[in-house]
Symmetry: C2
Amino acid sequence: METKGRARGCTCSVPGTLILLLIYLAYLALGTGVFWALEGRLEWDSSRRFQRDKWALLRNFTCLDGPALDSLIRGIVQAYKSGALVIGNTSSMARWELVGSFFFSVSTITTIGYGNLSPHTLAARLFCIFFALVGIPLNLVVLNRLGRLMLQGMHRCARRLGGALQDPAKARLLAGCGALLSGLLLFLLLPPLLFSYMEGWNYMEGFYFAFITLSTVGFGDYMIGMDPDRKYPVWYKNVISLWILFGMAWLALIIQLILSLMETPGESCSCYHGGSKED
Amino acid sequence: METKGRARGCTCSVPGTLILLLIYLAYLALGTGVFWALEGRLEWDSSRRFQRDKWALLRNFTCLDGPALDSLIRGIVQAYKSGALVIGNTSSMARWELVGSFFFSVSTITTIGYGNLSPHTLAARLFCIFFALVGIPLNLVVLNRLGRLMLQGMHRCARRLGGALQDPAKARLLAGCGALLSGLLLFLLLPPLLFSYMEGWNYMEGFYFAFITLSTVGFGDYMIGMDPDRKYPVWYKNVISLWILFGMAWLALIIQLILSLMETPGESCSCYHGGSKED
Ligand SMILES: [K+]
Ligand SMILES: [K+]
């Protein structure tokens, strides 16, 4: 078995895949343990606090007994999840108005999928699937293009710097580090300041939101433009759209960089090449 | 300007990027209009229904007046969103237990990000960012590997079929169509039957969930294993994990296929090559 695997050389060997899957599972186990340790206790605390608040509520409203309040809470959460609950003045991002629909379209084709809005009719769901099937590749085309433009700019800087420094290798390294740092500043470290001014979040909340958005994870626990009590200027949402586009392109480049660092050691040729060489 | 752009040939021209961005915006506008038309009216209806239900509720509980109920609803939604609300017997997927933490880890590094759980402590958020920064590329490595294994299997089939049919081109086409159809069946058309049996969803709900999950959008409006009143067998979650892994690899291949179909006409060389040729 082993010699056969060795003779094929470049093709994806099954044992290699198994080792990779084991690393993957170990990594997931690490995450499971850490999140469990960090969040489990807090959840228990806040659940106890909620129970205490519930009893305080029951004292205020004497007509509500325990089971009635429980069923009331369950009904409200159900209505909230199904999108039927629309409290007084929710922001236009939280409803299927022009702004909300546009934001939903963006969050679908970028695969961020915040989930503050989701389609409930059969027709909208079917359209959503076709919309994503064409939109996700289209979004990738745009991100690739923007990423290449950024890389081009970096290479141009490196060439100019190489002319000035008389050392192309050093210039490339300098330009690479400069691009990494300026991207980090522009897309991850400065935007939280804007968010803290506009949304009232603290710096870490803004940074967490920025990373979760640009990595396209999009939990939806934080979202911009959702506070109905705040007035957002017109330029704000346009700046955010540009930030999402360029930031996603930049973070995709960084993730590709980490990916190439992960895949290079031990595996210099891909399976596609292995297959074509055999012919 | 134009001749300069032509002379460079393969590099990304700024006008081309502008046209691409216009297409992108037009596509988003299409989505905005359709979702608005399809969902806007339904939302208005269900909002009216909720108002009616609210008045019915007020008649039952005489101690609650309008504003008190509004503030109660707002408080409950706030508690639900912040994760403090834990109703009686929620499923273990909705809490930071072992199963929930594992599922959160999976949903983070696959960038699905359902958002049923999200970290609330500063430490967990920071860890989440680093976990994603390494985990997303690792997940891509695994998906690439699985995608290649699937492609290898398809090529092997094509070669065998080519030997039998004496026509390699036809065999490749047949194998490609076969792989597409079997993937469609295995990852998108059959799983909804399992979901309808296990979760009680109808077929379209299951199909919608399958697509939204495998495309990594992950709105979080539907999720498996979340009904505390249902008993889920042990093999169910393992089968789901395998389905997510292989299904994402398969759908990534399909999206790459659509992407290559979008990028080939008019742009046969990438900007990277253009840059290296100039040197
Ligand atoms: K997502
Ligand atoms: K999501």
